[in-house]
Symmetry: C2
Subunit: 216 residues, 2 copies
């Protein structure tokens, strides 16, 4: 079995981390790079990763995450934020800069406006029924989240994808530290604690290949 | 640079595949296993992977995917389906079987009913505002999709995440072959063609680390 296959077996939802073990900076960089290099719809990268190691901030976040033990015991907590609908307008500097990178030439404001408008039209009329811009942006964030957990496992580092938290409380804590993280602009897709397991991992329960795969 | 880091640089949105090159069965298995072993909220694995290599079916799907050249030129097309809201009810055999696996003992119908109801309550009242059960299930599918693309890249295999297709048409094609893939039960999260690139990859454009990561 190769090292990547081993990583998919190693990865599990780690419930308690060993508080004495901290992730080395080069490993943390590799995990974040796995997220940063992830693909996204239209190359929009509608995400931001907030990496928290400060104990006081973790303490505040812990209560916003129903006191799940991963928050305090992990080495580093990565909060994956998605960019909300307000950032996908012609006035959005994020949208303009992101779209500009993908244009063949720079500084052509007509082309840039047209390209931004094309994407805004997609968000307004092109998304499937029942999928909002916020839903679309949040979904994209699951791609880097998966890649960060996989990369962590590859380096022998545990993780846990946490979807249970109080969105308003988490965002209020972040906004109090950095005003740009207002809930108008961002919301939380997932909380991803990383660190080293304290206990043996639980058995991996999955549907079998023949139950989840159909060949045509 | 290690092999996983190389994979994140190798992966790009491949627009045209070399039609003469086919993915070996053991590589395809490893890709699908990366999807199958992915984490999901509550361990619900709300996905199904339809793997298409038949040229006639690909031809039909191509027009439902706006004739994007990846569909016909790829070696194998994986359609990642998400399970829709109707599958998250007390009558759903999928829900009952999935929840049963996670119970400590089997066959205790009271516990099983209570555990299913707990999850249904979460879907009904616990999801954040603006997130439907369908949205929740579709989001989960982005995790195995990311892992399958990463695994493919690790084995030197190209991919492309396609979100632009006509949902009703794709599902009608699948349902005509396998009636269980009705649009009442499933919808498409992403179409993932896999194969071998025909042309050199485009430059990888990404925000820099300092632009998408904040350390607290």
């Amino acid at each position: 079995m190769n090292k990547l296959s081993q990583a998919f077996d190693f990865r599990h939802a780690c419930k308690v981390f060993d508080e004495t073990k901290k992730i080395a900076p080069n490993d943390l960089d590799a995990i974040l790079d796995a997220g940063r290099k992830s693909p996204s719809s239209f190359g929009m990268e509608p995400w931001h990763f907030v990496v928290i190691s400060d104990a006081d901030i973790k303490q505040k976040l812990s209560s916003a995450c129903y006191n799940q033990p991963q928050i305090m015991s992990c080495s580093h907590l990565v909060i994956v934020l998605y960019r909300k609908a307000v950032q996908f307008t012609m006035q959005s500097e994020y949208l303009r800069q992101t779209v500009r990178r993908n244009l063949p030439t720079e500084g052509v404001s007509f082309e840039l406006d047209a390209a931004c408008q094309y994407f805004i039209n997609y968000c307004t009329n092109g998304l499937p029924e029942g999928v909002s811009i916020d839903n679309w942006a949040e979904m994209q964030c699951y791609i880097p989240s998966a890649n960060m957990m996989t990369a962590a496992a590859y380096y022998g580092i545990d993780s846990c994808a946490i979807g249970g938290f109080e969105h308003n409380k988490v965002m209020a804590i972040l906004e109090a530290i950095k005003p740009q993280f207002s809930i108008n602009n961002f919301d939380v897709a997932l909380c991803l604690p990383f660190g080293y397991r304290k206990n043996p991992q639980s058995p991996q329960i999955r549907w079998k290949k023949e139950e989840v795969v159909t060949f045509l």
